[in-house]
């Protein structure tokens, strides 16, 4: 699957911690100037993978090449090409925004002029221009993440590694964050980020879905959704449990999930099944507002892909 010009190539990456295999023969490739997502729940191996690619954790097996450098043999060279923003980001809470930026800029030998220019641009894009003197510890969660990103970008790396960068962040900051990420593409920066939010995964160009250290699938979000067997139908109702129970044995329905104000179904052919479902509900005298086809989500694909070996034991 790897092509020439791939910026990151992981091949059979393996990492164990005692008896637990955190990353199990992982292989994927990231193209230049794309936003690639490592997606999966806690414990899927995302952080461990990122740490290996950043050269701060040694793989137990397999290999990885980042921007032409092998992470095992040339770890220090890798560090010169990348910027890594760990989940617990490296901000110095007792230093101001400016002081933090200056520190990271100095580590990469940026001249004062370069630093000022980049900082001004990035701070403006994040809406943080007026907070330059504020101590990092006094910023809100969203601003801390943005500052972390600014520090990571100040020297314009060729590869950006971000570990769950928008967890718990307010939606406005999250938007600013993604706007900055998208703007990097025109500068040929490649972004690899991890997230456990399946909705955020949809913003990436391509995804690698991870589950218990293994790769489930690797493709664009659109492709993954197309690979879902079936279509999604959403029934809005004030009595969702009644709806679900009524449709328990309905034809062509492969899954039923209760949501707050309705039921989320996967059916084989929506156009055929929708009238059938409506009829069934009316016959059972169950109130409903709407039965409509809906866009599948990455989560739908994830569930259908994992279902076969779904977790039965604690």
């Amino acid at each position: 699957m790897a092509e020439d010009g791939d910026v990151i190539v992981a091949d059979g990456l393996l990492k164990r911690f005692g008896e637990v295999t955190a990353v199990d023969h992982l292989a994927f490739a990231v193209h230049r100037a794309e936003i690639f997502g490592l997606v999966g729940p806690d414990g899927a191996g995302k952080t461990t993978t990122l740490r290996m690619l950043a050269g701060v954790l040694t793989p137990d097996g397999g290999s990885a090449v980042v921007d032409g450098c092998d992470v095992r043999q040339q770890a220090e060279a890798v560090k010169g090409r990348i910027s890594y923003m760990p989940q617990r980001f490296g901000l110095y809470e007792d230093l101001s925004v400016d002081e933090n930026i200056r520190f990271y800029a100095d580590l990469f030998k940026l001249s004062r002029a370069e630093r000022e220019a980049h900082a001004a641009r990035l701070l403006a894009a994040s809406g943080m221009g007026e907070f330059r003197q504020r101590l990092a510890g006094q910023l809100s969660g969203g601003m801390k993440q943005k500052l972390g990103l600014i520090c990571a970008l100040i020297h314009t790396p060729s590869v950006l590694l971000l570990d769950e960068p928008t967890t718990g962040v307010d939606p406005v900051s999250r938007r600013d964050f993604w706007r900055i990420l998208y703007s990097l593409l025109s500068e040929h920066v490649t972004v690899l980020l991890s997230t456990s939010y399946l909705d955020e995964a949809e913003r990436c160009h391509r995804l690698a879905l991870l589950h218990k250290g293994r790769l489930l699938a690797c493709d664009t979000p659109a492709e993954l959704k197309r690979r879902l067997h079936g279509e999604v139908v959403v029934i809005t109702s004030s009595a969702p449990r009644a709806v679900r129970d009524t449709l328990a044995n309905a034809d062509g329905v492969s899954s039923r999930v209760l949501v707050g104000d309705g039921v989320h179904l996967v059916v084989d052919v929506a156009s055929r099944r929708i009238p059938e479902l409506e009829q069934r509900l009316r016959n059972a005298d169950v109130t409903f507002v709407d039965v409509a086809r809906s866009e599948p989500t990455v989560e739908d694909f994830f569930v259908s892909a994992v279902q076969p070996d779904a977790e039965a034991r604690p």
């Binding site: 307010d170 993604w178 160009h205 589950h211 209760l258 104000d261 309705g262 569930v303």
Partner: protein, 318 residues
């Protein structure tokens, strides 16, 4: 003592810490058996509201009633009537499953035969039959979630508070967990969920969007998605994205454009005319347009717009 009124009622609740207003005149009510979600980022004030409802913090102004009791006057009694689940903090990792259950049962004053009975029930609920002796620290996060839930409901509280219950848990386990919650709600338990995870919010009957201590929107997920967004949301697949974005940003009837993965999300005044006009506009500029359709806005879209609207209103007033 159960009255038919709302299970939880909050009137103009305010909490200040020195200069900082953490909760700013929040009002809402939840009925018995309702699952109510507080949606908002970290630091928005969700935890503060929950702590006041649990009787752990005194409100600065306003009133809150939980199961008919005033939280400011009868904090101790309130605590007997609620269950609180916070997976990340409450379980003791070095204790076994059943030891944790017994401990929390004891905290709520459940003892003797009743404790044993309730522990059995909680083990069933959590699906941990056969694993009672296992060490909690060795369970995966999905199972810890369920155990934490079991510990929180041993004393059958009428009101349950869940703090980020399924963050990071895999989607299948999450669905199973919410099945449980829906069952409990159906049996009359009022459930409050606090989360910053938009996806999780979909499982709630009603949502309260909280931003900087204020209630920004209130309604069922569908209500919010259908009616809260000014205008309509379009998905436009076109190339090259960067230029298309600039073209559409200037187009008439377009309120907002943002990149989303390999496509653009465009907020327009009116959907039908836009579906017609925009592709023509793009093609006229020499840009390709492969797909355009109306999509349901996500809760995040709603949230962002509401925050912006509130800010605009605040400015207009001042």
């Amino acid at each position: 003592m159960e009255d038919a009124g709302p299970s939880v009622a909050v009137e103009n609740l305010v909490k200040r810490f020195g200069d900082f207003t953490a909760v700013d005149h929040v009002s809402f009510a939840a009925a018995r058996g309702e699952i109510m979600g507080f949606l908002g980022p970290n630091g928005a004030g969700k935890s503060t509201i929950i702590r006041m409802l649990c009787g752990l913090l005194r409100p600065t102004e306003g009133r809150a009633f939980v199961a008919g009791l005033d939280v400011a006057q009868e904090a101790e009694t309130v605590r007997q009537r609620i269950g609180y689940m916070s997976q990340k903090f409450s379980l003791y990792n070095d204790l076994s499953v059943v030891e944790n259950l017994r401990f929390f049962g004891g905290m709520y004053g459940v003892k003797g035969a009743e404790l044993r009975q309730q522990s059995e029930w909680a083990v069933e609920l959590a699906g941990l039959r056969g694993h009672e002796g296992g060490i909690t620290g060795e369970l995966s996060s999905a199972w810890k979630q369920r155990l934490a839930l079991g510990c929180a409901v041993l004393h059958h509280p009428p009101i349950l508070f869940l703090d980020e219950p399924t963050s990071g848990v895999d989607p299948i386990s999450r669905r199973q967990f919410w099945e449980l919650i829906h069952q409990m709600a159906a049996s009359g338990v009022t459930v409050f969920v606090s989360t910053h995870y938009m996806d999780e919010a979909e499982y709630c009957h009603r949502l309260a969007l909280i931003h900087r201590g204020r209630l920004v929107a209130l309604g069922t997920p569908t209500e919010l998605k259908r009616h809260a967004l000014r205008g309509g949301l379009l998905l436009v697949e076109c190339a090259p994205l960067g230029e298309a974005l600039e073209v559409l940003a200037q187009a008439p009837g377009v309120l907002e454009v943002a990149v989303f993965g390999n496509a653009l999300h465009v907020v327009v005044h009116e959907v039908a005319p836009a579906i017609d006009a925009l592709p023509r506009l793009l093609i006229a500029r020499g840009l390709g347009c492969t797909r355009i359709e109306a999509i349901m806005p996500s809760l995040e879209d709603i949230f962002v717009q509401q925050i912006g609207a509130q800010a605009a209103r605040a400015e207009a007033v001042s």
